[in-house]
């Protein structure tokens, strides 16, 4: 429980989001294009962070299904910014020792003609400590 409290505060701090502002309207999830891919949907993300229910989020593939399109941020009437929370949880994961989601060895397999270089660089930056 202690670690969760710490993680919760960390995620709130990193994201700069105040999950208490959420009024549970669900507009974030209504607008999310990756909704069906996600195990935990944007509104649940906000709720789980607010409740300190962080562990399941750290291990959820939802983290990487978020497209970072920021539609939820744009549409949220309460300025909660769910995508920033998702980003913060992702950061929390990769900041844990040895929890890199991607290593340099993974990169060659990903290269093909259609993939822009920039995508790989930004993905490498995003998923690696």
């Amino acid at each position: 429980m202690e670690t969760n409290k710490y993680l919760q505060e960390e995620i709130v701090r990193i994201s700069g989001v105040n999950p208490r502002k959420c009024m549970r309207c669900g507009k974030c999830s209504a607008t999310c294009p990756a909704y069906d891919e996600m195990e935990y949907h944007p509104h649940q993300f906000v709720n789980m962070v607010e409740n300190g229910d962080i562990e399941p989020l750290l291990n959820s593939k939802s983290l990487y299904k978020c497209l970072s399109c920021f539609a939820c941020i744009d549409r949220c009437p309460r300025s909660v910014q769910p995508a920033k929370l998702v980003e913060a949880v992702r950061l929390a994961v990769i900041r844990q020792q040895g929890a890199n989601h991607m290593t340099a060895n993974d990169v060659p397999a990903m290269i093909d003609e259609d993939t822009p270089q920039q995508l790989l660089v930004s993905a490498f930056r995003k998923y690696t400590k």
Binding site: K21, R24, A30, T31, R75
Partner: protein, 664 residues
Amino acid sequence: MQRIGVFVCWCGSNIAGTVDVKAVAEALKNEPGVVFSTDYQYMCSQAGQDMIKEAVKEHNLTGIVVCSCSPRMHEATFRKTAAAAGLNPYMVEIANIREQCSWVHKDMMTGTEKAVILGKAAVAKVNLNTPLTPGESPVTKRALVIGGGIAGIQTALDIADAGFPVDIVEKKPTIGGKMAQLDKTFPTLDCAACILTPKMVDVAQNENIRIFSYSEVTEVSGFVGNFDVTIKKKARYVKEDVCTGCGACLEKCPMKKVPNEFNLGMDNRSAIYIPFAQAVPKVATIDPNACNMLKNGKCGVCAKVCAAGAIDYTQKDEFIQEKYGAIVVATGFNPISMDKFDEFAYSQSKDVITSLEFERLTNAAGPSAGKLLRPSDGKHPHTIVFVQCVGSRCDACAEKGKEYCSKICCMYTAKHAMLTRDKYPDTEVYVFYIDVRTPGKNFDEFYRRAVEEYGVKYIKGMVGKVTPEGDKLKVQASDLIANKQLHIDADLVVLAAAIEPDQSARPLATMLTASMDTNDFFTEAHPKLRPVESPTAGVFLSGACQGPKDIPETVSQAGAAASKVIGLLAKDKLTGNPCVAGSNELMCNGCSSCANVCPYGAISYEEKEFRMPDRTTKVRRVAVVNPAVCQGCGACTVACPSGAMDLKGFANSQIMAEVDAICK
């Protein structure tokens, strides 16, 4: 030298909890002028007031200091006590040791120390107090109601009923306001026009009421009981007293493609128009932006067909001056613009409409004669999605929307959904809600009926986006209970747009020096105890200009405002505030600094003859304050470079004495 009595109140534990009241009374005993000092649990109680009266008699007091709550709370009480004891009421000073001391301090030592200092300042001031006598001003027995919606109509009728003349100023060509545009009214579902139009006729026929339609208030000066108001009667190019409202001109007018604002632009009207059949006054108005005759002198058909000869293309705006004793603001509301809510495709599809547009679509006098048809193709919609809270309850940092709940949307949406299912049972009706808020008599029962009897599908969640595709509207939304994302193919989407105060409210508030909140709603004098009065004396509030309200609430507030107005107009004279500015003519050099800063226009100048030391006379320009207009704000005393201006009851010397007492 004054003989001052000091009375320290405990206010139960409110003050005594953090201030050693006995020590305060003891410390103030030694102040100059103080001959008596005591403390008591509740100074404002009858026993406390009697104690003050006794002390005045026994110790021959000439001044009183009460160390208690804010003067806003009980200054008037203690002034009355003083008057009852034979003292001039303006010989009383309050040291606020509750709001400004005990409530903000936690430590007894600090609290007590500050209370003593505040008490000393009050004593220092009373030492310089002089008895003041308030002046009297007459009351003009006529009221002005600004806005002719249901709020203004009800207020005007109630004031007129009491026998006072009332003028209604309405900026549109007819009174009736938003209620005239509605179809049915919740929770009883009676038709809006059926209950409103008789009231409009009552207004027109009431001998005490004058209607200035198509008019605006352009200037307000004066003060409670004596307002001078300028009303601009906009040129309607039709003689109001000659027009019979027959409508021949409307039929013959060749310019028929003007968007009809009464139907929210969903159909067209002619350039000369009467907003709706039951308009009051039922007089035509020419839209100068659409009329060819007014724009380029080519047409004149309406003048030719008018049997009464009412058309006058040369009519000019007319300015009317009138005096009023009281002013009621009833400027109402508007739905907010949907421009910033692109996600709902309001600007992309004609079939995404606001709730007020839906009212017109279902109204028998509306563009589709009451048949619920899609604006785009005139087909009957089979799936309708209602979206609640569009622009309401938004975060202050959000770029769009309002922070407050618009209050009326839950109920009118339930009404729309219910009526749709009742009339067209083959229609699927979805309502997306965040919370359903239905406090009000028979309100929740009404909403439950929509769900249980009429089968309206209420879904907890919000619509994320609407995409027009072919003749369908693809609605993507959350169902939070089922934890699902829904995709609905809708034929019609209805947005419950937030409401905001009318645009005319802010400039009007400036004219009236009435205060507003950050949302441009008028502020009431007290949120609970004086809900229909503005803090500005003589200005009253009726209806949605003060905050979102439904019709029942508006009507009760309108009646309440009227009763306050009647109470004011029933008086023959008003007692003024004696704490007004006055200029020392010997020191005044006529520089006009004071008149330039005076927000009330209370200062004028006169040429006056003065005798010089060498026995010659000299004519000088000096400031003169009209005590009836002066509100005692003190701006002039600060602006005066020669120290000639002073405020009675708050003289510069008194304020300096207070500062000295604090700093000693």
